[in-house]
Amino acid sequence: MVTPDAVWLALSEIQDPELPIAITDLGLVRSVDIDADVIRVRLIPTFVGCPALDLIREEVSRRLMALPAVRGVDVQYTFDEPWSLHRMTETGRAKLVAHGVSVPRVRLAEGATCPFCGSTDVVLESPFGPTLCRAVYYCRTCRNPVERFKPPADAALIVPNR
């Protein structure tokens, strides 16, 4: 018999292909349902155009099928809830900062903090970075380029001190 704990543990061991954190810390897993040893997982994409979506879904299917007693797995993305930063865990945030990626509390328009020196004299260079979920900033204090996690834009998007 498959238990929810076993499924969530397996999911927590899957890394996001573009960020050094687990998909559970990123908040991609919306729901897990188990019915007669068939697992149904619903994922939320951060960005719909993210090229890693297929890779993540396939990895989730593969890992869950490998659990003992599993008879079937149904993994799909859902738009029932748009992804937001509220879904990221504190562990996820801490790991991203340790990796040198600044993380806003709620939205990109907040002032940024440099993950290297802690300065708040950090300015936006471009809202588009190496992946769809990262923007590029510059720290005027330690003079390092800084990457910042970019959530999909909520409400009125105002970007400060361009």
Partner: protein, 267 residues
């Protein structure tokens, strides 16, 4: 992707063939717009004026193509085919994109003006779907709207930079606006059965209403930047019904060449 037609909150209307056909036509127009414009944007990769714009244009291209894919997935679920086959396996006269999206890039000013006019129109269209009675499609539109905001941020910043950038830049941006405006009006050409869509609440604003809202967004901004849309321009229609420029045929030849070399290949 989740099959939205059979989602638990999908309205009963989607089980009616006429509604399905009308929603399919709308999704196909949206998908083809995003795919074709996404491809045009991607042609700037490696050639944009600075590295930030290069990365931005490439990211926007990736997002537009990603959005096209979600729409194609839904059509494919209905037709029993695949998103790849819809994107790469069709002839130009079956594409429903507006002509604006297929125009060659021209100079940077044209690409920025086109992106800006399109992004505003796309926002109005997505809002009309987001406010619709078609639960799962409305949820999808809300999700996409949040991503599109960043596209507008980029194209608007560039539009301002060019409009205020001296005679050569503002001259180029005005000429680009003269050329793109009639094509942009063509974005609001109705898809087949639009009346049905509005009647059943699948679209909270008709294309005409979307155009009105779009004009009330873009005209004041253009005015503030000293840019003048051409007066009395006739909309460039036909794209939604497969009437395209030879440019689309050339774009598709290039875009689909790898897929056509082996349509059964697994990637």
């Amino acid at each position: 992707m989740t099959n939205l037609w059979t989602a638990p909150d999908a309205p009963m209307l989607l089980s009616d063939a006429a509604s399905r056909t009308a929603v399919r036509a709308l999704l196909l127009a949206m998908a083809d717009d995003e795919l074709v414009l996404g491809h045009r944007h991607s042609e700037w990769t490696g050639f944009a004026p600075d590295i930030e714009s290069d990365v931005a244009m490439s990211s926007i291209a990736q997002e537009e193509i990603g959005h096209a894919r979600v729409f194609y997935d839904q059509i494919a679920a209905l037709d029993g085919t695949s998103a790849d086959r819809l994107a790469f396996g069709r002839t130009p006269e079956t594409f429903c994109n507006a002509v604006l999206t297929e125009r060659p890039n021209g100079d940077w000013a044209f690409s920025i003006v086109r992106a800006w006019l399109y992004d505003h129109a796309d926002a109005e269209r997505l809002q009309a779907v987001a406010a619709s009675a078609f639960g799962p499609f409305a949820a999808l539109a809300k999700t996409l709207l949040r991503e599109e905001k960043y596209h507008l941020l980029f194209s608007d910043a560039w539009l301002e930079r060019l409009a205020r950038g001296g005679d050569e830049a503002s001259g180029r941006v005005q000429r680009a606006l003269d050329a793109a405006w009639p094509d942009a009006l063509g974005l609001f050409e109705s898809t087949p059965d639009t009346t049905h869509l509005s009647a059943v609440g699948a679209l909270a604003a008709t294309p005409d209403e979307q155009q009105g809202r779009w004009e009330s967004r873009v005209r004041p901004r253009l005015d503030a930047l000293g840019l003048r849309p051409p007066v009395g321009a006739a909309p460039m229609r036909g794209g939604r019904y497969g009437r395209h420029l030879p440019d689309l045929g050339m774009l598709l030849m290039e875009m689909t060449s790898v897929w056509r070399s082996d349509p059964e290949a697994r990637w």
